[in-house]
Amino acid sequence: MRATFANHLSKSPDSRMVIVLADIGRYQFRDFPQERVIDVGISEQTAIDIAAGLSLSGMCPVVYGIAPFIVERAYEQIKIAAYNAAAITIVTCGASYDYGTEGATHHCPNDVDILSLIPGMRIYTPGTGNEACRLFDRVHGKGMNYIRLSDYENASTLPVNPNETCIIQLYENVETTVVAFGNTLDAAREAIGDRRINLVYATEYRDSYKDIPGSRLVFCADFAYPGLPHLFANDVLPRGELTKDLIKSVREGIEEWDK
């Protein structure tokens, strides 16, 4: 996802685009015009402040860094940039438990939830690199955006758009709908199997899902959302195990509605 996204940006003709890096990504963005790459070093807070200053001066900054160090360390900077009406696209790698072997300092399951508390923040969880590029092209330069890249992709790319969901399957008179976010679509398909359950694919996290069909929603996401327990992981989290847990919890969610 990261390479696809970086290559896409490197081909952009937009001379106002500036990439602000917090010590990672120099290699990925090696083909981007280097006079518009600003690597601030291990200074995530200042990466956001500088991007805000660039935006308020007419440039279109992208901040790229590792999810927990950008979102959780520089949370106040993101809030103040939003308050100052800056337009920044924040792009992170290391989604949720992508660094599952590295310990809780490197996990970031709460990014989506806490960013959703900032007024005006738009939050995208694309499921493939091409979806990330498509969403970026539609939102960049317009307000505060967060695009979460992951090391894990869905098998296929869908024609995703901001403020829209994709209906994967919809049955008449079926009220249970699984809402799969980003890179969990394949796991959601597996959880549903051949059951007559609606499946909707979402790449934007929103306050309300009133437009989604069905009254019995089951969320399928690899990030924390309100209602889930928040725990530090004190052990290695292998990707395969996480996916199995997710499939199990989606099936339990479906069965809960069936009771």
């Binding site: 402040d49 991007a51 308020l56 440039m59 100052n84």
Partner: protein, 229 residues
Amino acid sequence: MSDLNALRRDILKAAYLSGTGHVPSSLSCLEIVHTLYTRVMRPDDVFILSKGHAALALYAVLGSIGELPANWPEKFCKPDSGLLGHPDKSRLDLFYAGGSLGHGIGYGIGAAIAKRLKGEAGRVFVLVGDGELQEGSSLEALRISESIANLYIIIDGNGTHYAQKGIADRFIFCDSAQDIETEIADESSLIWVSTVKGHGISAMEKDPQAWHHRAPNAEQYAEMLRELE
């Protein structure tokens, strides 16, 4: 000085009528803001008040140059005025809305880089409190600012908080706000101005911390006005 006393009276009036405001921190940097707006800055320049709690100093100067109505002190911290205790941008023509400390230098770097990339004229001035240099984000930004042209960082050194010696050593020191005009003309980009918290009001100069976020009562207000006559 008489000009500045009129501005000090405005600041006191605003605090007295609203019952709030950071008066001593505004008085310490009033002369710096005034010098920048009246003798240094040109239309292409950008000003960032990083120490947003000195909003009263900014409002007083904007009032004196006609960018705020003369009766602004009556509106300070009143509903629908747009004149908040820390500057808000929604109804004022400001580059930066601040209040939380330690952000202004980063915004200044971004603004200065943008001017370079766009080939635009103009300089960027950031007014920072000495206490703000204790913020980690200020230190991050100060390190990065070393390589940035057309960025002037001016410290309101009112001595309430002492920055580590190694940081202060990088600055050119000025005894008076009026000297910054010369230093900026010489392209000194890190300027530390020795100031007095509560400058001009003896009660506040004597006990600046007690007055940090406090408005005078009627009696105190009258006494302070007499001092400024």
